[in-house]
Symmetry: C2
Subunit: 220 residues, 2 copies
Amino acid sequence: MKRDGYTCHALSFDYGQRHRHELAAAERVARHLGVIQHRTVAVDLRAIGGSALTASIPVPKDRPEADGGRAGEIPVTYVPARNLIFLSIAVGFAETIGAWDVAYGANSMDYSGYPDCRWPFVNAFIEAANLGTKAWDDRTRRHESAGFRVHAPLINLTKAQIIRLGRTLGVDYSLTHSCYDPDEAGNACGRCDSCLIRKRGFMEADLPDPTRYAAAVVGR
Amino acid sequence: MKRDGYTCHALSFDYGQRHRHELAAAERVARHLGVIQHRTVAVDLRAIGGSALTASIPVPKDRPEADGGRAGEIPVTYVPARNLIFLSIAVGFAETIGAWDVAYGANSMDYSGYPDCRWPFVNAFIEAANLGTKAWDDRTRRHESAGFRVHAPLINLTKAQIIRLGRTLGVDYSLTHSCYDPDEAGNACGRCDSCLIRKRGFMEADLPDPTRYAAAVVGR
């Protein structure tokens, strides 16, 4: 979004995720990339439960299905309606700062088991957001502007393509975090879906993987 | 919903509202009506700001526009994307308990200035919710069932009609709370839009108003 000339305000969510280390990582990345501000909104999704990422369901390890979700099953790390909730809060944030463009980091290639990472959902969401906010002008029955747009620049890229693109844009991957089940120090487990997909991404992109893995994994 | 035979799970939101007294009231009402459970989800909308209900913007008092929003202006008590966010969390909750029916207390008659209290928004939201959750089966490209339904039984009723309907269904209005700006003890201010509309509702319904108003208002 920065490359395309947008002035960026970053938003993260503290939703009771096991992998809270990603919040510190998001803060580091946001500062490194020079955004106007980075806000973290607390929304306690543990109160509704239902996912391995927020409840006491174990995070699956070493799953062969982490090969691109081709099995078509929705994994237990799916958080009910999570991205619908996050996009809704993002639209509220956009409204308060007078922005119309929301950038969404969803990726459908590696996680095709997640229904909220696909264009049909994103397009339906935009329609709902425009009808449910000030963007919709009740008097004229027309949008004040073109309305909200949701950009999802990574949605149709493979993990390897994403990693290469980030590299050309100056992303420092040593600042980033993907693991669903890190240890206390924030080291990646190396075995959850998110780690497996990230690792293979670096391999396929033929780039060094700067991820700090837990000792037990490094030793394998 | 209970009258129509549904088994009810109630959901409230602690979103940083000034009128947190409504959360205790919701708990009282839910217990009185005998729901299966009542959960309160914390979502800190103060972090995005932009409303008199969550930020340090004063709640307007004695507004003539509280006559049914006919002026067409969206009031400063509008919380950006609030109901979009609440409905999204409700759909996530429904998903975790295996429910397909979400009941939404929106009312368009008295608050026509709120864009998220109207059917076009609700219908677009249902579409997004079905595409963004497990309800959508990627393999068959069809919904698992008819998908989520959002019921909004109060949406086209006047406040007087709502009060009469509640009366026939056994609602104890002394347990309820509407004021946007109550005093410490939870007494209603009697002067915000929400109080003005509620008061007029009781008058038009020709029913006694059991609301506890702040002393200064009672004395007027």
